[in-house]
Assembly symmetry: C2
Homo-oligomer: 332 residues x 2
Amino acid sequence: MPELRKDPVVGRWVIISTERARRPSDFNTEPVRARGGPCVFCTGNEDKTPPEIVAVRPSDTRRDGPGWSLRVVANKFPALRIEGDLEPAGEGLYDRMNGVGAHEVVIETPDHSASLATLPVDAVADVFLTFRDRIVDLKKDPRFEYVLVFKNHGEAAGASLEHPHSQLIATPIIPIMVSEELSGSQAYWNRKERCVWCDVIRQDRRDRRRVVAEAGGFIALEPFAPRFPFETWVLPVRHGSAFEDSGVEELRGLAEMVGTVLRRMNGTLGSPPFNFMLHTAPLRDGALDHFHWHLEIIPKLTRIAGYEWGSGFFINPAPPEDAAEALRAAVP
Amino acid sequence: MPELRKDPVVGRWVIISTERARRPSDFNTEPVRARGGPCVFCTGNEDKTPPEIVAVRPSDTRRDGPGWSLRVVANKFPALRIEGDLEPAGEGLYDRMNGVGAHEVVIETPDHSASLATLPVDAVADVFLTFRDRIVDLKKDPRFEYVLVFKNHGEAAGASLEHPHSQLIATPIIPIMVSEELSGSQAYWNRKERCVWCDVIRQDRRDRRRVVAEAGGFIALEPFAPRFPFETWVLPVRHGSAFEDSGVEELRGLAEMVGTVLRRMNGTLGSPPFNFMLHTAPLRDGALDHFHWHLEIIPKLTRIAGYEWGSGFFINPAPPEDAAEALRAAVP
């Protein structure tokens, strides 16, 4: 059974994922991927994945059979386990609980060589609609406090399979980075009675230097203090704290904007590996005046080394104003 | 001029390192290392580095000439610049200051193929004595609040040169990870009037399961909630908050313990790339009852991907009890 454990100094929880446990010798080399073998996410191999949780497919096709345009399945090697109770317990000065959670994979398209940059906007919109629907569904499980949606694209960004997919992990704990955004934005609200991200959008729209694009109710910008070169945030211009409250039209606007940003990154940076992460309000928080949901896109261009791990202080060789200028100049 | 910038939501500072700035096209591929060319850190190439700040060398040898056993030089591509004033300024809701700081390299040995795992203990002790002396020296500069000592060993851990070396960066800001340790340990002290790391050592010594080794006044252990497989902390058993207050005998004990841990890691994990980071109290804090200096050693065995970047929630496939058992069983 995987375990959740809390660091007694800084209060950071980690997942000790025994389902993925390996012996010391297994760490000796980078994990080897079966290349050339059949892709488990491709059409025709539906029996190679855990059963479908939901899918986008015509009504005359059968579950776990071909004909789908998008599938959601449980991760075959989940970081957390869906069954069981949390059973939080102390162990002297340490805190632990059972590693209960959901770990799902969104297979974004049957097309092995497509990507969110090349798929038609309707297909990309289906991906974001699916994220929304999975969050709404997982919210019904009272054990979960948070659902984090993310994507690893390319081996250097941590993807173990090439076929276009994203993932979500539901946890009984609010992740520390989200907590930090919540408390930072609450403190800002307490001083100003304004949402800090709304203020960022207002200031950067006037300033223009860090804005990559704006359309369909969304803005893409390079943050003022980015951790990574070409780190890009996509935010709804209108305030909203819960991603899962977004309507169909809104998510279509998001799909357009994410496609645009990824195509501009591909043009500027040579189709880099990347991650994206969706930051939305915790499941039980209702609508928050001080939190503004957003998608963080991070191309994988630099190595993170000892200074960053030891300090949390990131060294970024690309000023965001230069990155935004390059992305604006690229063909969308 | 590099810049320090603060994220307006979470308060995290980043270094926008214009001295290392690259054009977008430069990010397209992994940086290429000049292989086979002469190593700039080897004996005979002293003129290829910035001038020596200090060195361990016989008195009959000359500065920036051969004969040394250890050299400290400025980093040729510094993340921060030593000259200038901070000139902190606001820009609407953003905060910035000049990227003033020191970035130095400790060339640990003239032997290109040695490592801290293979060098004699006296040579390793010289490395730690040098860290101490550099911190004491940089403390005299009133602009600096913190010195973080770290090491990148191996390309996957971020090293751009093979020759054994470590680095330090002095900043006008206390890094956020150190701040979090300070406030977490202060909160623990407020409740218990005990140092949390002293309590960790007490509990883990009784428990044994996470202890790797103990000798010469130092203990090496796998933390209860490690972010990374085989993450190992080395702590002085006796409470102390400032690394730079350590005596010669103490640092010899540290050198022995670090050598032991690295040799055990090499045996267990096949000489992995690794980082280490020294966490000591801020320069201006004096002796703190609640902070306990320590060295964090992290072998680079897994990729960090979207979930970790988005959540701060690390997925660790190796329970620390299993890692400690494997390291205890290895030949030191």
